[in-house]
């Protein structure tokens, strides 16, 4: 899956997020899948997704260097594929 960093994302409301020393655990009550966020940065990105107009913005704000954006895009793609995160539908009119 190609992850679109320039769209707005959010954590699914059926997901419980639990910080851990290594990063975090996400458990999806609908799918019963468990995701491991394996560092503090990816945790910060995921937690802040709904506060940012795009995933790219969330990554940069969390301190992700440009060169590492592809790795974070892959991480977010994993979460999107398992529906841990989903696109945010904006109420603004959009072409």
């Amino acid at each position: 899956m190609t992850f679109d960093l320039d769209r707005a994302w959010q954590v699914d409301p059926r997901v419980s997020l639990r910080p851990e020393p290594f990063g975090a655990l996400l458990y999806h009550f609908g799918t019963r899948r468990l995701s491991f966020l394996k560092n503090q940065t990816v945790l910060a990105v995921v937690r802040s997704l709904s506060d940012h107009p795009s995933a790219r913005s969330a990554c940069l704000a969390a301190g992700v260097p440009e060169a590492e954006l592809p790795a974070y895009a892959r991480a977010l793609a994993t979460l999107a594929e398992s529906t841990m995160i989903s696109e945010r539908i904006s109420h603004d009119s959009r072409a």
Partner: protein, 34 residues
């Protein structure tokens, strides 16, 4: 339980498998839970 590495196919410069930032498993069942 299944350990799923659902990231894309690694490119030549991609991270090794234990450098993935996100990994997933299905947790119906985990040894010790009958």
């Amino acid at each position: 339980m299944t350990e799923h590495v659902t990231a894309q196919e690694p490119e030549t410069e991609a991270l090794a498998s234990d450098e993935l930032l996100v990994e997933e498993v299905s947790i119906d069942g985990m040894c010790g839970v009958y």
